[in-house]
């Protein structure tokens, strides 16, 4: 681990110049942020014969928000799920190239994927609460990682639910089954459940696609709040949302990372004509 940290700082210094293009210009910079937290190098993901993500190279900066946009089926979810190795569940799926987290190879032979997933939390495209009570859903992660004190758990549960802007709606029915919540509530519950583990990285796969504008605004506020303490990656189909909440944006097209730049740059001055077509809605 310690040796890895030195390699990281090395790579950080050598990549300084390239990394700066991802950073927001006008926005407040985050203190202590901006190190390359996740680094992809020629990283490809295959489903059997099919190459869903093709030779992606990119740095994801720590404590900033990175948005991933692109048309449906372009590999956004696949890429995101690769980061905490959720694709391991798909037998036909394999990767090539390298993907580093904190300088360590995510797909390394000796990587503990359980520990990795604890550090890299994920909220899935479809809400997936457990068929347990709301309380047990949130407490699942903390319990897993050794918290058993009831009072402490309740504290964590409340804090997480508050952060995910759902506390007021569920505080009087924590013992009720989470499947009884509406889709939007379930999604926020899943956000809270992920936050309860206190990961370093938050992967959000279209977290607001099932939410009404009010709840969406709450999630966006939450992202703003978490920015600076977590590294956040968010997949979204909503350009406004990407431009509102993210510091840098990746545009994927058919598995290729077409463009990755600071959000302001990408939306106002896209380098690639394809990006321009997509963000202006001229895409067929």
């Amino acid at each position: 681990m310690t040796t890895d940290v030195t390699t990281t700082s090395e790579s950080v210094s050598t990549k300084k110049a390239t990394r700066d293009i991802y950073l927001p210009a006008e926005r407040k910079k985050v203190a202590g942020g901006g190190a390359a937290h996740i680094v992809a190098k020629d990283f490809s993901i295959h489903y059997g014969e099919f190459e869903a993500v093709k030779k992606v190279s990119a740095d994801v900066l720590s404590k900033y928000v990175t948005a991933i946009i692109g048309p449906s089926g372009c590999g956004k979810s696949t890429f995101l799920r690769a980061i905490n190795r959720m694709n391991d569940l798909i037998p036909s799926c394999y990767t090539s190239g390298s993907l580093l987290f904190d300088g360590e190879d995510i797909y390394g032979k000796y990587t503990d994927e359980v520990l990795l997933r604890k550090k890299i939390g994920m909220v899935f495209q479809k809400p997936n609460p457990f068929p347990k009570s709301i309380f047990d859903n949130i407490a699942y992660g903390p319990r897993l990682h050794g918290v058993s004190d009831k009072k402490k758990l309740l504290e964590i549960v409340e804090r997480s639910l508050r952060k995910a802007a759902i506390w007021d709606e569920v505080c009087d029915r924590l013992d009720k089954n989470a499947l009884g919540l509406s889709g939007g509530q379930q999604q926020r519950l899943c956000v809270a459940r992920t936050l309860a583990v206190e990961p370093e990285v938050l992967l959000l796969d279209e977290p607001t696609s099932a939410l009404d504008p009010k709840a969406t605004a709450k999630i966006e506020d939450l992202i703003q709040e978490l920015r600076g303490s977590y590294t956040i990656m968010i997949v979204t189909h909503n350009m406004q949302q990407a431009s509102r909440v993210s510091d840098s944006t990746m545009f994927f097209y058919e598995g290729v990372l077409v463009e990755h730049a600071s959000t302001a740059e990408l939306f106002t001055n896209p380098k690639d004509p394809m990006t321009e077509d997509y963000i202006t809605g001229r895409f067929s």
């Binding site: 905490n84 959720m86 569940l89 037998p91 359980v114 520990l115 997933r117 604890k118 550090k119 939390g121 994920m122 899935f124 479809k126 997936n128 609460p129 457990f130 068929p131 347990k132 699942y140 992660g141 897993l144 990682h145 009720k176 089954n177 989470a178 499947l179 009884g180 899943c190 459940r193 992920t194 583990v197």
Partner: protein, 448 residues
């Protein structure tokens, strides 16, 4: 398709559906009604003083005082019968040998019938078998025996083209002119006073052990044996089956060996149960020598092998039906694979797993063939828990078959057989019902 046709189709399908359900319900009634109405007769019936005597002597049950006065009152009427018999005995002594010989066999028939009706006659030797120590304990049987006493059954074979026809001849006529002639009307008129029929509720049928191979007493040894066998089978098969299912669904690498194992498992589920019975004898008793000969443990193991494929399949299906998203959610929170299985997958699959388990339990309780060679005996007392490794046991399924086909006095104790059928059906139905309730409760908890 236009709306009209669609509606007609819907309606006709509804009609067909309702029709088939009605047919099913009727078929069920045809099975269940006789089982219940006959089986209930083992517990609720009109019992005679002989039944109460038997209960007192064999099970030390009933009020001594009450019984004594009942017996005294019945004896008062019986004495007259016995007096008539001795009077006729004396009369026989005075007869000429030819005339005497004419009465001999008929008289012994009368005495046999009287013995059957009222129990041993004064001067008879104390019978060896308990069944001969008492008269008729059930009123409906007593009425049959009374008829046998009053009438001799004869067969009319005069017309060779049709089957012989039974007809009855009054025995009183045969003894016309002797002192015994008065016995028949006397017994007929005073039978109730001699037997004191009374509505009886005999719960002991469930909790008593049998006396003289089910002639009297209850079926507790069978119920307990069934319980031991089925529970023993579950004890082996359930954990094993669930573990195997977890392995198949979560750990096994897909491939030739895996699919072979799975189809072998499916095939095993369809093997006739008698094959398991033979296998159990050959493997558990002759090869592994889990016991010297038949024993509960050997039977349980055999039943376990029989129900294992069903449990595995049910558990597999239940586990596969758990949404993949639960697994993803758990893993993404940093849970290990095993922890995910234990805390998310299995709880969610529990209703299905338990249903499979309970239905298998019912099957284990009901099967006959697997225990014929491995565990069942037709007569025996209830065994203790410590004896399961060495003793065979009676069991409901096997004893129903035994009473129906092999028991030497099957016709006289039909009510016991029906009682056993009812007990077995009730046990299996209760198990299935509990499976349904359990499933509903857990599902409700899971669905919120």
């Amino acid at each position: 398709m236009n709306i009209g046709t669609r509606k007609i189709l819907d309606r006709s399908f509804t009609a067909v559906g309702i029709g088939s359900i009605i047919v099913m319900a009727l078929a069920l009634m045809v099975v269940v009604v006789p089982i219940v109405s006959n089986g209930i007769g083992a517990i609720f019936f009109t019992g005679t003083v002989e039944h109460r005597k038997m209960l007192h002597a064999e099970f030390n049950r009933g009020e001594r005082q009450n019984l004594a006065s009942e017996v005294a009152s019945s004896e008062r009427y019986r004495t007259k019968v016995y007096e008539m018999l001795s009077a006729f005995d004396a009369e026989l002594e005075t007869m000429e040998p030819e005339k005497k010989a004419q009465y001999d066999s008929k008289y012994s028939q009368v005495k046999t019938a009287l013995h059957a009706l009222l129990g041993p006659l004064p001067g008879d030797m104390v019978p060896m078998l308990t069944r001969f120590k008492y008269g008729q304990t059930r009123w409906e049987k007593a009425e049959e025996k009374l008829h046998e006493l009053l009438y001799e059954s004869k067969w009319d074979n005069s017309n060779p083209d049709i089957m012989g026809k039974e007809y009855f001849v009054s025995r009183a006529v045969a003894f016309e002119g002797t002192s015994l002639a008065a016995l028949f009307p006397y017994v007929k008129n005073n039978i109730e006073k001699m037997l004191l029929p009374e509505f009886t509720v005999y719960w002991g049928f469930i909790t008593d052990s049998s006396v003289d191979s089910h002639f009297f007493g209850g079926i507790w040894p069978e119920i307990q044996g069934t319980f031991f066998l089925a529970m023993g089978a579950m004890l082996f098969a359930f954990p094993l089956g669930v573990i195997a299912a977890i392995y198949f669904t979560e750990y096994a690498k897909p491939g030739f060996l895996n699919s072979m194992l799975r189809s072998a498992n499916s095939t095993l589920a369809g093997v006739p149960s008698i094959v398991f019975g033979m296998f159990g004898l050959a493997f558990f008793i002759n090869t592994l020598r889990v016991s010297e000969s038949k024993s509960v443990i050997a039977g349980s193991l055999t039943l376990a092998i029989m129900i294992l494929p069903t449990i595995i399949r049910a558990a597999e299906e239940a586990i596969l039906a758990v949404p993949k998203t639960y697994r993803e959610a758990s893993l993404s929170l940093g849970s290990t694979k095993w922890n995910t299985i234990a805390t998310v997958i299995l709880p969610a699959a529990l209703p299905g797993i338990l249903t499979g388990g309970v239905i298998s339990l019912g099957r284990a309780a009901g099967e006959t063939a697997p225990i014929i060679f491995t565990a069942a005996v037709s007569v025996g007392s209830a065994i203790g828990l410590a004896d399961v490794f060495s003793s065979p046991t009676p069991a409901l399924s096997w004893n129903i078959y035994n009473l129906a086909s092999e028991h030497e006095a099957a016709a006289q104790i039909r009510h016991v057989q029906y009682g056993m059928v009812l007990a077995l059906v009730t046990i299996v139905l209760l198990l299935n019902l509990s499976a349904i309730v359990l499933r509903a409760r857990i599902s409700k908890k899971l669905k919120g």
